[in-house]
Symmetry: C3
Subunit: 461 residues, 3 copies
């Protein structure tokens, strides 16, 4: 210690002591600072949980969005039925996912499927904490978030998948047949897709990227809708013998527009919450990127769909613009966390184009998708899943494999399921019910019983 | 200190110093770690406050839900008036609760009533902190949450109570008479009920359990509605001389459905925020349980109500299904924090059954509740309050006592109040106004002035 | 050191060492406690960011509110077009603000304008953190919130400004001309106003107070609307030759009411989020005050507008009451953080009066503002900006200067812009299109194609 050489021994002692003290003090202070610079674990736990609940609530709200979008899009005579189908499907999906779906998707997933246990619930430690039987705070916190906050968040996702289906096959499918389909879709089919991916199964192991579910949620719903449209066939009179297509414009544009705004809002929760955490600065930054990308893609989807609606559909088409928003949102959903903002605009815009083209395509091949769910959710979902590796890297082959595997699985199983329902309890309402409308014929309730309606042109082909 | 025996004195000194240092350092580090393992107090304060604000905003949104539910349920000729009544009641309730209600409910509550002070506001410490007059952070934080965040949360609750009333007695009550009733309900009657319970009064001391207000909010609204229905009587022509009941289907089903979705969404705030804190892992876990139970009960309410609607009401009834959701939500509200998930399903399902049966019952006893508020909020509220002790323990007698005491108090006072209003400024519109509809006769504005309406069948009895 | 005089030197050394140790230890402990008693920096960062995202999402929802308010207020024949304009403006505003607007408003603002850079995005440190290239947590946290969370929050503000315009000039302006106007308003004009104030420019340096934008957002939108109304002129037949005014009541009151509830809800985000931080108890207290003041002012606006609607407009006017809510909200927006609660009531009530009087005034001077946007946003915005210094101090002259400078700038630039658009691509639809309605004539889509509509009375003057 040459620096201390001129000092007496005693002074040296004091000096050494002081140096030790200062060093230690600084060390301790740094330790404290280091702790203070990260959110503590309990705060992280709370923030993760609260984030799931707030964003999850917004996603639940998307069910109202689908309900409005669909009930405003169908003809008045079927608008009540679509309301009933939508609130019914949300109820059924939530119960089915609680009883069996979540377990199949997330509990002890091997490579293809989780556990066939019944019911789901808080952990024992959480129960002990709530009932004050034991202070299990530390082990509860170790899980990162409250068990059921994640369940809640996942449950509203499965409901979204089911919501996509109802619109495409509206105006001709029986209520109970539809709800039975939803039950199996949400209890088994969607959870299997989820187990392959978010549950950690074989596609996850391959490195399949689908952040919030362009494929897992939206294409899954879209494939199920496509299978349904193929099995049940078009509405009476939609495609005429002479090759022309009967226009079936939305019966209530304001309600459709409201529905799209609801979906746009809910998507902030859908994509933002899929960060799955809010316990660090990195999570907060990522969530901000996600919301901005989500909004930019939707905006670009609107503009692009409107711009191409005149060449493709022959007019500035509001309905195409509204579906463009949804297609933009679906497209960005596979990678809102990792693509650059300008890429979000490109991805969303192409999504809008694809959707508008898809609406035309479906008419051309005479598939009757009442609300445009297949172009907006399936076509744009496929695009978005592939786009993520174009914009941000990753294996194109793996993305394609995921799209194809999930597509094949969902299309085949739902096709069989639609057929099975058709062969047993029946899928399609009678021609008489279809002509009268499901509202008065099946429900005995009209959507707007006091308004005088235009007589509908003949439905005969 | 035998361990140090072989050392020179000077070395001993240094060594002792080092040991002291290390001990202290470890102590300090542990202190810091101990702090870091729980959310610190200021973070807890922020989380508690923010939670009140976010969930409170969602509860405010329930007023829009009631407005849509009610304005879509009444006949077109009264739909504008119900919009006006609802935005008016929210305004009046908020002002009344600010001027006097909150103080009666929460400030210096003895066993029956709080303080008759006027106005309410932030604490002096909070004002000092905001104006930077003094650093009162520590004492502000000590309160657990910002004073007015709690006020905001409580205010939206009282508005909910008032909202329940407007629908039941719609289509026949004068605007100003209704708003006067709301003023007294929200300034005095509801706050007294609240003082007995959440304010810490005699029912709280007995151990009455009503987590988020199955009885305190929903049954209170329901009793006030029942008293109103009894005093004002049915709509002209609703119950015919021959014993038959004139059907008065909702005039706009889409809007009713939207209203129910809004209420369902808002209920996540209503029940979730009633945890009253988000500062610990236990709070976060509890809030997650609450949202899941809330959703399961609503889902079960929908399914049960739909299932029994055919035997009870003669058809699959969408309106019953929608009310089933609300009844499920009301039913779970007394104990969403403590019942098991499967119990939430049972409680909600029974709520849905009771509501559907209640709709039939009211018709049978010739009580005219336009939107089904009494079955959904009163009947299901009573059920939920009793169910909480069936499912999760507690005294059945105390629950029954609370239901009975609050029921008797609210029913009697509101009955007298309705009568007093009737005897002074008048309660019911003239038969002529009722036939024409309040929209054109009282407001001079129609809900949908450009739509051609069906001529209404005669209202004569 | 007389206290240590009786001790041997060695003991003194030890004692001195111990004292130093204890002092240091206490200092370190206090440091740690000090850190622990405030939210740590990373938690603050997360809370600030999450607050921006949650409240920002609610503000985006206000666009749905404006859409509903406006599409329910116009005549049925133009309701689809207003839906399209509103979703279009939200898309355009978001893209324009991303490409150039935000930079002009916030980046390197001198006294009048920011930087003319293109695009905006996360900081390099944030990108490095997200891509895990480097642990830049500390420097990221130093910014206080995620870069794009603030961008998101600011973006939804500019969309609000644009939304205000569409309603006033509805039913007669071409779609693309309107969207071009929005593009320039949101890319350039609004950002310049913002640079003067929130960006730190000359008005900010003068001490101009406009917390969440009574003037900056609402009056800016109102001035742009007024200029548009002057340039484009009234709807055909609105003001008759004989001096009478053709009534054009809202075509769908339920939807208007829903829109107002949406706006009211969104305003909690609009004002609450304008606290711009949630990292301290003071922020949380301030945000609570803000939400309560926002709600009280809106409530008072409703009551006051309803109360004076009979003397001013000749009847209890629901539409005036609904606009009263908005006027109350606009009025409080300049100072919800600093006025007392009773002042919030007074400010909101006067806002409601001004709005109702303004509706009458505009009719008198024969200006055709379809939805009452000018009274609700411009008149109430001016009032609110002045009221803040009446209620809470500050320079009246500075407030007046800000109101005048922003008013002059926005009115003149938008007047020129409207004229320029009119002179080039044309602003107003043809008389034929106006008679038929923009929905069928321009869009080829009707809002409610199945409802039978009343024949409209002649539009000739």
């Amino acid at each position: 210690m040459p620096l201390l050489a001129g000092l007496t021994r005693r002074r040296r002692l004091v000096t050494v002591g002081a140096i030790v003290l200062l060093t230690l003090g600084v060390f301790v202070a740094k330790t404290a600072t280091a702790h203070a610079s990260g959110a503590d674990e309990e705060t992280q736990f709370i923030l993760n949980t609260f984030m799931f609940l707030v964003w999850g609530a917004l996603i639940m709200w998307m069910c109202a969005g689908f309900t409005m979008l669909e009930s405003g899009s169908v003809r008045t005579k079927n608008a009540s039925m679509i309301c009933l189908k939508n609130i019914g499907l949300y109820a059924v999906a939530g119960l089915a996912y609680f009883v069996v779906g979540y377990n199949l998707m997330y509990v002890d997933v091997g490579s293809v499927i989780g556990s066939l246990d019944f019911l789901y619930g808080a952990s024992d430690d959480e129960i002990a904490l709530l009932t004050e039987e034991a202070d299990t705070t530390a082990s509860v916190i170790g899980a990162g978030h409250a068990t059921m906050s994640d369940w809640f968040f996942q449950m509203v996702f499965v409901a979204t998948t089911a919501s996509i289906v109802s619109g495409a096959i509206a105006e001709r499918i029986k209520l109970w047949s539809f709800l039975l389909f939803v039950l199996i879709l949400t209890a088994i089919i969607y959870p299997i897709v989820g187990a392959w991916t978010w549950g950690g199964g074989w596609l996850a192991e391959l490195g399949f990227q689908d952040f919030a579910g362009s494929t897992i949620v939206h294409s899954t719903g879209g494939w199920a809708a496509l299978a349904g449209v193929l099995v049940v066939g078009p509405r009476l009179g939609k495609f005429r013998r002479d090759g022309s297509v009967k226009p079936t414009p939305p019966s209530n544009i304001l309600v459709v527009t409201l529905g799209v705004f609801i979906l746009w809002l809910g998507w902030f929760g859908f994509n933002g919450g899929s960060q799955l955490a809010l316990g660090s600065a990195a999570d907060a930054v990522a969530m901000s990127q996600i919301l901005v990308n989500t909004n930019l893609a939707a905006a670009a989807g609107v503009v692009a769909a409107l711009a191409v609606s005149r060449p493709i559909l022959g007019r500035i088409d509001l309905f195409a613009g509204l579906n463009g928003a949804i297609a933009g949102l679906v497209s960005i959903t596979a990678g809102p966390d990792i693509v650059d903002h300008y890429w979000a605009i490109i991805i969303g815009a192409i999504g809008g184009l694809i959707c508008t083209g898809g609406i035309k395509l479906l008419e051309t091949v005479r598939l009757d998708d009442v609300v445009g769910a297949i172009p907006a959710h399936l076509f744009a979902g496929v695009w978005g899943t592939l786009a993520v590796c174009i914009a941000a890297g990753g294996s194109f082959h793996v993305q394609l494999a995921g799209v194809a595997a999930i597509g094949a699985f969902v299309f085949v199983t739902t096709f069989i399921l639609w057929r099975a329902i058709d062969a047993t309890i029946g899928l399609r309402v009678s021609a008489e019910v279809e002509r009268l409308g499901q509202d008065s014929a099946e429900l005995g309730i009209e959507a707007y019983p006091e308004f005088v309606l235009m007589p509908e042109e003949d439905d005969r082909e």
